[in-house]
């Protein structure tokens, strides 16, 4: 996988990073990874809180035919990701159930559409007669060949997502947790839901380019889900989600540089480990504090 011969880490982090960053493609990979990790960590917290993981998954699936179609018509895959994801977000927004959160019966309809979109993507790839590794990269991600232009587009998209989220974060949280009261306080919950789906589409399009279509959850859901296990403070949880996403991306890219295995695997595995550790942390803390006992005491009082 590596073009640079057979590098091996010196275990002096400074030297190792200096070696990695002597390759422009690694510099771009770290830049793109950082942008995506920060954005995905922040929006991921809202995804988990709003219970819209499945919507995120659907949007990721859409990015696959998007990227394949873009390559087929001869433009950069970046445009395919963004156009298809944001377009799909707007389509989802017209479906009444997408705004209200997910329930069992409706997920079947979404799943049906997902499968169809995956099939379309596969057709586009077949029509392109491209190299087969292109398919792998689309599905499971690659850090090779991130162009400076792509980094610039990712930076712009991240900026838009983060600034918008900062502006609407509080009312969005209110409307997510407590729609009836939020409506009474004059919060336009439906507008915010549509806006959130569009932001999610943008973030998903970004994440798909690094983790691949099938592994977007590694950055979009896992870090935030792990952070929520550790703390119930919103600001702390968002910060922690960003830190986890950032750390797993950097470590994953670093490991993938030295080992002949794909970065998507390392990033996802690290994020998974974070989630498992976070769950364990919560379980241990829970038994120590014994919530059932303190609840009983509270009831008696």
């Amino acid at each position: 996988m590596m073009a640079s011969g057979n590098p091996w880490p010196s275990w002096n982090l400074l030297d190792d990073f200096r070696e990695m960053w002597s390759f422009p493609f690694m510099v771009n990979a770290f830049r793109a990874g950082t942008l995506v990790a920060v954005t995905a960590g922040v929006i991921g917290w809202f995804v988990v809180t709003r219970k819209q993981s499945f919507a995120a998954h659907t949007l990721a699936m859409v990015s696959f035919p998007g990227a394949a179609a873009a390559v087929l018509v001869g433009v950069s895959a970046v445009y395919g990701y963004f156009v298809f994801c944001v377009g799909a977000a707007l389509v989802l927004a017209t479906l009444p159930f997408a705004l209200a959160g997910e329930s069992e019966g409706q997920s079947a309809a979404t799943g049906t559409v997902q499968a169809f979109l995956l099939a379309c993507g596969y057709l586009f790839v077949a029509l392109y007669h491209g190299v087969l590794s292109g398919l792998n990269a689309l599905l499971f991600g690659t850090f090779l060949g991130v162009t400076s232009q792509q980094v610039a587009i990712l930076a712009a998209a991240s900026l838009v997502v983060l600034v918008t989220l900062a502006a609407v974060g509080r009312p969005l949280l209110f409307a997510s947790l407590d729609p009836a009261v939020a409506a009474a306080r004059g919060i336009p919950a439906n507008v915010l839901s549509v806006l959130f789906l569009v932001l999610l589409g943008t973030a998903t399009a970004e994440a798909s380019q690094i983790t691949g279509v099938l592994l977007v959850f590694a950055l979009l859901v896992m870090p935030a889900a792990a952070a929520q296990q550790v703390t119930a403070r919103p600001s702390l949880a968002i910060a922690l989600a960003v830190i986890i996403a950032f750390a797993v991306t950097w470590i994953g890219l670093g490991v993938a540089f030295y080992l002949p295995y794909p970065s998507g695997f390392f990033i996802t595995t690290l994020a998974f480990c974070c989630y498992v550790v976070a769950r364990g942390f919560r379980a241990v803390r829970g038994t120590r504090r014994a919530p059932a006992v303190s609840r009983l005491l509270g009831a008696l009082r």
Binding site: T49, A180, A299
Partner: protein, 243 residues
């Protein structure tokens, strides 16, 4: 209640709320909708839920520690949230994730959320619904205490009137498509009135300490649909007055 909040237009008549048309003064109304509880997956502290009642509708980010004025405002907001939580007796558990709390604890914190902006009017839609009996009694007593201590009028919708009867100043029965009976509990809660309103035998007993107790028929009526045709909605609305 949605009409009072201006969320639904009235099909007839005029409505005035706090001296204006509905929806104009919603920042002076605390609202507790009828709800299912937060499920155990909701990983947000109770404090944060209460805080949403104070500034959850504001746009932009609360930037911590930017200038002394902002810091002061932040401190005042935190203090107000703590006060509201103290008022409902929730300080013990307000820092735990809301999904881990019992229904009664969640309901108390939601009442704190409705109270945190010092509203003039508190609208409670079935606040005792889905609570167990001790919690029903406790929350009813809590609401009564709040409306005596704070300058706030409480309007409460309830299907089961027994837990709230000791505290209610005025009762409005909405049935048969309109306001069917209005007055003090002693005037409205009578065997004759309730039997007429519900279209099924209802008995009102007086306990030894003078409290009223509403008792329904031991068996449900055989013809449900028949009863519903005659009275599409039977709801008691208890209003506890404050200054």
């Amino acid at each position: 209640m949605k009409i009072l909040l201006g969320l639904v237009p009235a099909s007839g008549g005029t409505v005035r709320v706090l001296g204006g048309s509905p929806g104009r003064a919603n920042n002076r109304i605390g609202y507790l909708p009828q709800r299912r509880s937060f499920d155990s997956g909701v990983r947000i502290r109770g404090t944060d839920i209460v805080r949403l009642g104070l500034d959850g509708h504001r746009w932009g980010m609360p930037m911590p520690g930017l200038g002394p004025r902002r810091a002061r405002r932040q401190r005042a907001a935190r203090q107000r949230v703590a006060e509201a939580i103290e008022m409902v007796g929730g300080s013990e558990y307000a820092n735990r994730p809301i999904g881990e709390l019992s229904g009664g604890e969640q309901q108390r914190l939601l009442i704190a959320q409705a109270l945190v902006e010092r509203p003039a009017l508190l609208l409670l839609d079935e606040p005792l619904d889905s609570l167990d009996l001790p919690n029903q009694v406790a929350v009813a007593a809590l609401v009564s205490r709040i409306c005596k201590e704070e300058p706030v009028a409480v309007v409460m919708v309830a299907h089961d009137v027994n837990p709230i009867l000791p505290y209610v100043d005025r009762v409005l029965y909405i049935a048969l498509g309109g306001a069917a009976a209005c007055g003090t509990p002693a005037e409205v809660i009578t065997t004759r009135t309730l039997t007429k309103l519900f279209g099924t035998p209802v008995e009102v007993l007086t306990a030894s300490d003078g409290r009223l107790v509403v008792v329904g028929e031991p068996e449900p009526p055989a013809l449900y649909s028949d009863r519903h045709e005659r009275s599409p909605a039977s709801t008691a609305s208890g209003a506890s007055g404050a200054p």
